[in-house]
């Protein structure tokens, strides 16, 4: 079987350069590729366009790249958790393309699945649809949205095997599966890397064909944004 393993995060990011377009999995801070993000900071890769549902918080996740002004443009659906983001956007330092969340997910999936564009009702009649083709099907209006074009996808899974197969845990799944195979190169980091054959083929969330490089992340902080609990009675 084809072996997708790379030694570490350094090897995983070979070929990442300034001005590239990058996809990053995660919803809020849940399921983000922590190791890849740290390596992007370390390498001082600059002027990148990031496709990610959110922009992290000021001192974690994509917020780290924002602090260093490595990001030229963000394509996201919700960015309300990050003050530095808001400052850079309002001052015009940062270009921002806000995209409905379902549209964002499907623009990834379209790229993964070889669809050039798709019609969605989301955003019709709003500024999101400005300058875009709209069309009626069966009496309902839709907006034509193009697939993303991206150089690298960075995703985070729970378990992975050497063939690149991935399994996610809980809602840390979110955008990660949609971004696999949606860029020229997909880099998966996992909490646990196991040999090919250790995972049940029926229970793979993302087949290895959508992943070019896989490595076990050194550590995961997994910060919680809103710790809401029911008190012990």
């Amino acid at each position: 079987m084809i072996n997708k393993t790379v030694k570490n995060v350094t090897e995983a990011l070979v070929g990442v350069t300034d001005n590239m377009t990058l996809m990053l999995g995660g919803f809020g801070l849940c399921g983000i590729p922590e190791n890849a993000i740290k390596e992007l900071v370390k390498r001082k890769v600059s002027n990148v366009t990031c496709i990610s549902n959110n922009a992290g918080v000021d001192d974690f996740g994509l917020g780290l790249l924002l602090q260093n002004k490595q990001i030229k443009k963000m394509i996201s659906s919700y960015v309300g958790e990050n003050d530095e983001f808001e400052r850079q956007m309002l001052s015009g330092e940062l270009e921002v393309e806000l995209t409905p969340q379902g549209t964002l997910a499907e623009k990834c999936r379209a790229s993964q699945a070889g669809f050039p564009a798709f019609y969605t009702p989301a955003g019709f009649g709003t500024e999101v649809a400005e300058g875009k083709e709209t069309r009626e099907f069966d009496g309902k209006m839709y907006v034509l949205e193009p697939a993303f074009k991206s150089d690298f996808s960075f995703v985070k899974a729970w378990k992975g095997d050497t063939s690149g197969n991935l399994i996610f845990k809980g809602t840390a799944r979110n955008f990660n599966p949609c971004m696999c195979g949606a860029s020229t190169i997909t880099v998966a980091e996992v909490e646990e890397l196991v040999p090919a054959g250790a995972l049940d083929p029926n229970q793979i969330h993302i087949p290895g064909i959508f992943v070019q490089r896989i490595f076990q992340g050194e550590k995961y902080e997994k910060r919680i944004e809103q710790r809401t609990v029911t008190p012990k009675s």
């Binding site: 801070l29 309002l90 990834c108 710790r227 609990v229």
Partner: protein, 218 residues
């Protein structure tokens, strides 16, 4: 007496029907889950990829890998499921979710809704709201009748950038329950002790008052 936020949620919960899948937005809508009527079963969908969302976890059992769309730690009920974002919006766009409850900054009498942006001021993003309002067959807006400056949020036309067009069917505010039909607001119920006149005054859009308007039952 105008309703509290919890009472707005309680009134909205009366709209739930057996076997409905329901998406609750952040804020007042989230509270609806606390008032599910006896004898019906509903399931809550969280657009980050969770069906059968349960209550907040018991202290000490919270899991960073299990959150809702508001980024709060939650639980999954027996029979729940986890899925990716594309599948989540397949559920929403494919109209498999029977009811969406969300907040709004403005609602217009033609059903337009604005809740994601104040130009030059607030730019948090639309999240999943545009997908939800563009697809849901049944949308209830939960909000205060007026804003912090006392201005009506039920308008002839929205002044803020739209989230969706002609999509809102029902509104539950601290003062009233209203329906949108034929491009006007129809007053259905008053909050206990609130007069039709008070509601009229707080509503900028055209308000149709047909016969006696009953008080809500909570």
């Amino acid at each position: 007496m105008a309703l509290t936020k919890n009472q707005i949620a309680q009134r909205i919960a009366q709209e739930l029907r057996d076997k409905w899948y329901v998406n609750l937005g952040i804020g007042i809508p989230t509270l609806v889950a606390n008032y599910i009527p006896e004898g019906i079963e509903v399931e809550f969908q969280s657009e980050n990829g969770l069906l059968g969302m349960g209550p907040f976890p018991i202290e000490g059992t919270e899991d960073a890998d299990l959150i809702n769309a508001g980024k709060q730690t939650v639980t999954v009920l027996d029979g729940g499921s986890i899925f990716d974002s594309a599948t989540s919006f397949a559920m929403i766009r494919g109209q498999h979710v029977q009811l969406t409850v969300l907040g709004a900054m403005e609602v217009a009498q033609n059903g337009d809704i604005a809740n994601w942006k104040i130009p030059g001021k607030m730019v948090k993003g639309m999240g999943g709201a545009m997908d939800l309002v563009a697809s849901a067959e049944n949308i209830i807006v939960a909000m205060m009748h007026t804003n912090k400056r006392g201005e009506s949020k039920l308008l002839k036309e929205c002044s803020l950038p739209l989230t969706g067009v002609g999509c809102v069917t029902k509104i539950v505010t601290n003062l009233a329950v209203l329906e949108i039909k034929n491009n006007v607001f129809h007053l259905l119920e008053r909050a206990p002790g609130v007069t039709v006149e008070e509601i009229k005054k707080a509503t900028e859009g055209t308000l149709v008052i047909d016969g006696q308007i009953p008080e809500m039952r909570l």
